[in-house]
């Protein structure tokens, strides 16, 4: 039982950031802008917020510091994503180009700036943000073990974002309009919706969530940051597609992937896997292979927003 709890708790390490970032991608793509810059935005978000943590660590209580850092990550993510928004909305640029540029820019900028400011590219921080056990809730059998012990506050924030994102998408005027812009912007426009404004909002939301995702990805796995999120922005993109651009499925996809990754790296404490003693390479490959196989049998219909990737042109037939 402990093993199950442990594996579950650890899979959150992968799942939560992937969900948050993929939801960001969802808002952008649902508004009609493909955002492959998620990776770059994560890097920039993590860079500034961790720099903030490093600066104020010790003078501000950990959980408060963490939350403040999240705000920084969000703001920076939004600002950075504006570059993508401007290029793809105002300039009608090819969205892959602009996204690629941001992906190229972010790590170089992070390393370069860190060196300029503090001499070295790594930014150290102390990871004292983990909550060993949530008071009261942590004692609930099973559930308490699963999600109220050894957690980061980000787990709850991630869950909160997921719930809020689904409500926004399906239950609000904003969500309806956003989806319309991603499916058929001409229809939205002729219904009097400001497509440009909606798309800006979509991209900025993706910036906010990807920036935040960068921070919450890095914090639990290391004690320093050096300008890389190891391709998890691209994995989030994969999760978004796997999740068919829908919140609940994004959760499923991220969880599936996170679980597979955790099992792969902790196979030796999982009894029946430990007995197999397979080559580690097999475990490393499994999450990706399994995803491919699942996709091969579940992708009959793609739910990609129809207008995603196309610059909006009012006169298009």
């Amino acid at each position: 039982m402990d093993t199950i709890y442990f594996v579950f708790q650890n899979s959150l390490l992968f799942t939560v950031p992937l969900v948050v970032v993929a939801l960001g991608g969802m808002f952008s793509e649902r508004s009609g802008i493909v955002n492959i810059a998620l990776e770059g935005i994560m890097v920039i978000g993590a860079f500034f917020s961790i720099f903030f943590i490093k600066t104020f660590q010790g003078s501000i209580p950990p959980q408060l510091l963490f939350i403040l850092a999240m705000f920084i990550a969000i703001i920076v993510g939004v600002l950075f994503s504006l570059l993508h928004a401007y290029a793809s909305i105002n300039m009608k640029a090819n969205q892959t180009i602009s996204g690629t540029a941001l992906n190229l820019f972010a790590p170089a900028f992070a390393v370069y700036t860190a060196r300029m400011v503090q001499g070295v590219s790594q930014i150290d921080f102390e990871n004292n943000f983990r909550i060993p056990k949530v008071p009261l809730l942590g004692d609930i059998p099973v559930i308490g073990n699963l999600i109220f012990q050894n957690v980061y506050i980000t787990t709850y924030i991630g869950i909160g974002i997921l719930v809020v994102a689904s409500i926004i998408l399906y239950k609000t005027r904003f969500g309806l309009r956003l989806r319309a812009c991603g499916e058929h912007p001409q229809a939205a426009d002729s219904a009097g919706i400001n497509v440009i404004k909606m798309r800006y909002t979509g991209v900025m939301l993706s910036g906010a969530l990807a920036g935040l995702g960068g921070l919450i990805f890095v914090v639990p796995i290391s004690t320093n940051f050096s300008g890389s999120v190891l391709g998890y922005g691209f994995l989030a993109l994969a999760v978004l597609i796997f999740g068919q651009w829908k919140p609940s499925r994004i959760l499923f996809a991220a969880f599936f992937f996170g679980m597979m990754k955790t099992i792969a790296s902790t196979s030796t404490i999982i009894p029946f896997l430990a007995d197999l003693s397979l080559d580690p390479a097999i475990y490393k490959i499994t999450p990706y292979l399994a995803t491919l196989i699942v996709l091969a049998f579940s992708s009959k219909n793609s739910a990609a927003p129809r207008a995603a990737g196309e610059p909006y042109d009012a006169g298009k037939r």
């Binding site: 005027r173 309009r177 009097g192 009012a314």
Partner: protein, 508 residues
């Protein structure tokens, strides 16, 4: 006389073409004002300017005598202007209700409040006999229904000035009648309507006045009651147009296509889309499949051309079995296909006109040599067809087809398919959205094919076209052939009975 809408001296240019050249349009309150013009005359553009989708280079717009600044559809909305676009602007994966409220949603603390909206939609739907199910997904409903949703959208917004851009092009005769009634109704309530159509009958039937455009220029505005159809069409194309299709006696020859017990599975329901259909097409005849949209005509054509697999039955073309042949094999053996959906199937919109005109023949000896395209021949071919079929576009053979007007896109397809010199021409709604001049031309081409001893299989929803062009009519209803008629003797009413399923006979 007081005008609700005045568009004065409007000029709108696109790269390489002046779509509107100093056009003036004045609409009176409470009238149905028709806008008539050939394909590419600039009607949609003008309306898009009025609706705020395009910004005109020159000219003023006045609403109720006041100069109006309309920069986007939101401004148009403020002036009470609503528009049903030629290509519908509906979000395919939204429900009817969601599409209707889009942009004018009622909310409570930011959350959608659809209850009131639903009631209002149901009320309007009842009032105008629209029979709309607010919860149906757009992707599940028929084109006619989509049209009604567009109308409902305008009514829901309580617009006073309604623009209909070719609303009847995709409707069945019954649906057209319904629409005409609705429009009259609306006008009698004091709403002003701008009505774009190529069908002079419809103008005669409902419009008060008509403004005619030709090649981007204003020609005249006249009263409908005192102007004959012939006069209108002459204004429109600048010459006399024949309305009756001139054709000699048919001389049916050998059977060229034999369809035996054809069954095609439906993608959406358990019922077969095409159920046990058998018929023959002969050389020298135009056989027409008539019927209301959505009764299996599309699937039948897809099965004949190879786009959809056949469940059971067989196809014999020129005596050989093509049941399992590929699309290419059928095409090469002499079947041409003018598809129903020109954007989905007919054209590669990002290719230029020349490239599109060889879409069915690029692999032939004439256009390639050991796999290398012969561009000279391709462009020469394009120039020839452009001339021969009067295809108009900004940059000739080099025009991106995406930028061409709908009518000219259609002409390009017709040109390509007829130029293949097929033994069997399958033409699905070949004149949809075309002006009378173009329709006349295409009908003439179909008859020429027939007279040259080729077979033509025409699928049409257009009653007049069915009656005028065909030599023999088969009526399709719910995937089955339910009637056979001779256009020289059958009445429109009788055909209507077959089409609605009220009458059926066994076909040999």
């Amino acid at each position: 006389m007081e005008y609700v809408i005045e568009m004065l001296n409007i000029t709108k240019e696109f790269p390489g073409i002046i779509a509107n050249d100093d056009i003036t349009l004045q609409v009176r309150k409470g009238e149905i004002h028709a806008l008539l013009g050939e394909n590419g005359a600039g009607k949609s553009t003008l309306m898009s300017v009025l609706f705020g989708l395009y910004k005109a280079e020159k000219g003023t717009i006045k609403v109720n005598g006041q100069v109006a600044k309309i920069h986007n559809p939101n401004d148009a909305k403020k002036y009470g202007i609503g528009m049903v676009h030629q290509h519908f602007k509906l979000v395919h994966n939204f429900t009817v209700l969601e599409n209707v409220v889009l942009g004018v949603e009622t909310v409570e603390n930011g959350f959608l409040k659809l209850k009131d909206a639903r009631e209002k939609v149901e009320k309007i739907s009842k009032q105008y006999n629209l029979f709309i199910d607010p919860d149906a997904l757009i992707s599940d409903i028929s084109v006619g229904m989509e049209q009604r949703v567009e109308i409902l959208k305008m009514l829901y917004r309580e617009n006073e000035i309604l623009i209909f851009d070719e609303p009847t092009a995709v409707l069945t005769p019954q649906e057209i009648d319904e629409l005409m009634k609705i429009m009259k109704n609306l006008a009698s309530e004091g709403k002003s309507i701008i009505f774009i159509t190529h069908k002079l009958n419809e103008i005669k039937q409902v419009a008060d006045r008509v403004t005619v455009l030709r090649k981007g220029k204003y020609i005249a505005t006249v009263d409908v009651a005192t102007t004959s159809k012939e006069e209108m069409s002459e204004m429109m194309v600048g010459r006399k147009v024949l309305f009756e299709v001139e054709k000699g006696e048919q001389k049916p020859g050998e059977v060229i296509l034999e369809v035996k017990n054809l069954v095609v599975k439906s993608k959406h329901s358990h019922k077969n889309a095409v159920n046990n259909v058998s018929f023959k097409v002969r050389r020298g005849e135009i056989l027409c499949i008539a019927g209301i949209e959505g009764n299996g005509q599309t699937d039948l054509v897809y099965a004949l051309t190879g786009l959809t697999p056949i469940e059971s039955g067989s196809l014999l073309f020129k005596g050989s079995d093509i049941t399992h042949s590929t699309i290419r094999q059928r095409s090469v053996s002499g079947i041409s296909h003018i598809p129903e959906d020109r954007h989905k199937h007919g054209l590669v919109l990002d290719y230029n006109l020349a490239e599109n005109l060889v879409l069915q023949s690029y692999f032939q000896k004439d256009y390639q040599n050991n796999g290398f395209l012969k561009f000279e021949a391709i462009y020469k071919h394009a120039t020839d067809l452009i001339q021969q079929f009067d295809i108009r576009s900004g940059e000739g053979a080099n025009s991106k087809t995406r930028s061409m007007s709908g009518g000219n896109q259609q002409k390009a397809i017709v040109a390509r398919e007829i130029d293949k010199n097929p033994d069997l021409l399958i033409a699905v709604q070949p004149t949809r959205g075309l002006d009378v001049g173009a329709i006349e031309y295409i009908h003439k081409k179909l008859v020429e094919q027939r007279d040259a001893g080729k077979a033509v299989l025409l699928v049409s929803l257009e009653m007049i076209e069915v009656m005028n062009v065909s030599d023999r009519i088969l009526v399709m209803y719910e995937g089955e052939l339910v009637g056979q008629a001779d256009p020289r003797v059958v009445s429109q009413q009788e055909l209507g009975l077959y089409m609605s399923g009220s009458k059926r006979e066994v076909i040999e």
